[in-house]
Symmetry: C2
């Protein structure tokens, strides 16, 4: 256990030269709840941000439990590594606070990918809110891109809110499906199918090829009914078997076609601009709430007024205005 | 057009003696975007809040367009008025900013109810956000209850988010349904059926009685699959025809049974406590954001930094920390 942390310059240089240990430590700083560590993480990110590579590709992969996300990411990741890509896998799992990380917590689920130097796998940060978890993942993304990982895969657990967060930090949204079953049986939340740029029916192998084709036809139909996307891309539906490693290359080809499309028409940059605006607002809101609720005047006024509001003695708006006035005066 | 407003004492006394004109004017103050009017509204609410009646009953009524919400509220309202109840009808319609109010905007849709002194009907406030619209409706609720309206009906348009807001300010959640069609065809958002304490199949008349009974059986089945509610109440499914005024009394009887149940087991008060906490937080968040984004230092720092974030020159977290520091220093 090292007691003294490397200094910021060491982190910055180390990450730029793809030092995995320093990269991992820097992400740990991002995830820390300690104020001084967070300040350090921000300084590292600020320095690295100035010259990030602009050729990175960010992919969200989601799907209900059982759709085979880990196997799929392993197969896709190994395919990319074989082509000379450097692949980082991050995760957003709002349940990780309780469970200690239900996805990517166990790296052995991506045995080959976690063994290669060309890939970097990091379990979901924990946190008391999805917002906090997602912000940390987005900051980790800056670090892995600065370390030269050109393809970033963000895995989510399929509970709805974390998919929206994942979409807000990626260029392509991939929904992994099971053969046969419809949306509801698959546990896919309403609105997720609409978000997908690529829908991939996994486990299209053995007896399930026919069911996979049925699912493909069903979702192809469904996507035709959707309103057009701002990217101008028509969602595509593919089938593959991550287990048998069939169809993976075709999936990647369509991902590349999508990437070429959104680079050519400017959507990749425009989307990243909109995403940056969202994360700025999101980070401001979170920081503002911290500032407010940790303020001693706010704490004491709120402690005094909240019981009065709960018992109905005073109105919520009355109490809120008093607390806000105390905050304004006390700053 | 009166140029000078009555003073606060006149408003407070007038509302306590059920002066409809002053009540209407006070709600207009609540809905005003002018700071001085809002301060006045808050003062009026603060004075009235101290001794609000505790025998009021708050009912949310929702349903897809075409379910007959206005006709149902008219029939139920007239039934209550005949029993000596005083009924206020408010609305939450987040689209009212654009449309000028798509529900309750036209009082003639509740012709009888709007003609009686025993009822008070107010269209949805407008606003640039659902949060703002909902907060105004909740403040208007304090005013109508202070004016002696013991039964408050909050109508929503069935778009999902406004139902959640309505549930957070009422004791009972009623979902109005059409005969025959399933959830999806009725345009009912996922999660709304789960929120209902009473499900009422309207338009159970003429040829539609059989279809209404089928719908009733379907939803009865669906509610049996739902997890138990914290109120300890098992949702019930009824049928009525608001148009022919049949079944309305039975609906009200079950509403009264529900009310007796949640008064006896303490849920009415516990729920209102939780609601008060929610509205306190909600009002604090909204006020805090106003304070922040209208601060001159914040405006100027943000105007300078936002383009840098959008172009990717600096990170969102870096910019956010700079703006927050400027806010802290500048207050």
């Amino acid at each position: 256990m090292r007691r003294t942390l490397p200094d910021i310059e060491t982190f910055v240089q180390g990450i730029r030269s793809a030092d995995r240990a320093l990269l991992g430590q820097a992400i740990t700083l991002v995830e820390s709840t300690r104020e001084d560590r967070q300040v350090m993480a921000r300084n590292i990110i600020a320095q690295l941000h100035a010259d990030l590579p602009d050729n990175t590709f960010r992919i969200a992969v989601t799907g209900a439990p059982g759709a085979g996300k880990s196997t799929f990411i392993e197969a896709l990741g190994m395919h990319l590594v074989a082509q000379g890509k450097r692949v980082a896998v991050l995760a957003i799992d709002p349940s990780s606070a309780m469970s200690g990380g239900s996805i990517l917590g166990d790296k052995t689920r991506m045995e080959q990918l976690s063994a290669t130097e060309m890939a970097f796998i990091r379990p979901s940060p924990s946190g008391d809110s999805l917002g906090g978890v997602a912000r940390k993942t987005r900051e980790a993304m800056v670090l892995v891109e600065a370390a030269g990982f050109d393809t970033v895969i963000v895995e989510t657990v399929g509970v709805g809110q974390s998919e929206i967060a994942a979409q807000r930090m990626t260029d392509l949204f991939l929904l992994l499906l099971l053969p046969g079953a419809g949306d509801e049986l698959q546990g896919i939340k309403r609105g997720i199918v609409e978000m997908a740029d690529l829908l991939v029916v996994n486990k299209s192998d053995g007896d399930r090829v026919k069911l996979a084709n049925q699912a493909r036809a069903h979702y192809l139909n469904a996507t035709h009914l959707l309103p057009p996307k701002p990217s101008g891309w028509l969602p595509e539906v593919l089938a593959c078997s991550a287990l048998e490693n069939t169809g993976i290359e075709a999936v990647w080809q369509r991902m590349e076609a999508y990437q070429a499309h959104i680079r050519a028409n400017g959507w990749l940059l425009e989307n990243r601009r909109q995403q940056a605006r969202y994360w700025l607002e999101d980070t401001l809101d979170a920081g503002l709430k911290d500032l407010f609720y940790q303020h001693p005047e706010v704490k004491s006024r709120l402690a005094a007024l909240e019981p009065e509001v709960l018992s109905g003695k005073i109105s919520a708006i009355d109490a809120a205005m008093q607390v806000l006035a105390a905050f304004r005066k006390g700053m």
